[in-house]
């Protein structure tokens, strides 16, 4: 995870024929965490997708080094499969790494088909997929949606551990995310 970084320079984002934000610059080094806040539709998710390289930047650049892990509202787990096998697919893709199933409270759910899981359980399963990926850069889009109080605390702890191990976390959320050293930027200040 050493040497992970995110460098966003003078970034502008366009959805359809509307420019959502412009002139955004960020620097994140190993161990950093940053939360992007703002109301719905302001471009938080789009920013994450640009940083991930999944969407083109309208202007400016977004460069990352290190492997990227993304958790958004789409959990990428086969709805028809039992959770254990759906996660097993990603473990075989990423190389078998411990994905902290017990801590995430998923050990009991491995036989349950993904489509029967609740929103919060799917979110935790997506976090397990992320942890198993051992990515240096975590991009979390509304990571606390649908989570109960206990799971919220757990997610905050997991992010803190990830950063103290030299990882980077970029969170897009309108909800408060408690983390000691985390910086916050309001995307509204860059609205076009």
């Amino acid at each position: 995870m050493q040497g992970a970084s995110i460098a966003v320079t003078d970034l502008a984002c366009r959805r359809g024929d509307r420019v959502l934000f412009r002139g955004l610059s960020l620097r994140l080094q190993a161990g950093d965490a940053l939360q992007v806040t703002g109301s719905n539709g302001i471009g938080k998710s789009s920013l994450l997708r640009i940083v991930a390289g999944l969407a083109p930047a309208f202007a400016g650049t977004a460069e990352t080094s290190g492997t990227i892990g993304l958790v958004d509202e789409r959990h990428a787990l086969d709805p028809a499969l039992p959770l254990g096998r759906a996660l097993g697919f990603w473990q075989r893709m990423d190389g078998a790494a411990d994905n902290e199933l017990a801590r995430l409270g998923l050990s009991e759910l491995l036989d349950v088909p993904v489509r029967y899981l609740s929103t919060g359980q799917k979110k935790r399963a997506a976090l397990a997929r992320l942890i198993g990926q051992k990515a240096a850069v975590w991009l979390l889009d509304e990571p606390l949606n649908g989570l109960d109080v206990h799971a919220v605390e757990l997610t905050e702890t997991l992010v803190a551990e990830h950063c103290s191990a030299g990882g980077i976390t970029l969170i897009a959320s309108h909800q408060p995310f408690r983390l000691g050293h985390m910086r916050t930027i309001a995307l509204a200040e860059y609205a076009a």
Partner: protein, 219 residues
Amino acid sequence: MSGRIITLLKRDFTRLTLGGSGGGAVLPVLFFLSVAMLYPFAVGPDAPLLARTGGGVIWVAALLAAILPLDRLVEPDIEMGMFDQWALRGISEELVIAVRVLAHWLSFGPPLMLAALPAAALLGLDGATLQIVEIGLLAGTPGLAALGVTVAALTAGLRGGAALSGLLVIPMAVPILIFGAGSLGTGGESGLALTGAASLVLLAIAPFAGGAAVRAARS
């Protein structure tokens, strides 16, 4: 990387063959057999007529059966974010599509070739005709698989994409159908060779056209 490709192929194959809610590979085969069974009822018990036209019916049935699974070939994976996760891991859309063409073919090509045996019996085809049908299916179904995956990728995310993809596949499958079914009339190798050639062209195009379509669907 090869381990990842095998993992991907295994997932695609089990999903398309056993296929949970979609009915998997059984549905196209049953559909294919029911067309072969209905045809003699429709044209009457005229054995020479059935034997002369039966090979063509098998081809049409195979083409229609290949259309059935189109809507679950690409779109579900785009919707649940699988392609995004693969892209983050450096697995290109082209590679995923190429693997999917193979998995799709495995899930309907060989089963249809097996089902062609009872279908040939129902239509009263002789051994020589059956042989040409089987070789033709072997040459033509990979092209149908490539075409199906490409069109499924192109129509993913569109309203009424499933019906649209069926309509789009049919005209583009005409070359395979003409040469495949045409080889029955002439009994010649040239028809089979051209079927294979049409298949190869489609196989070569599919990963790139499908990959580009998946990326375009993202924005």
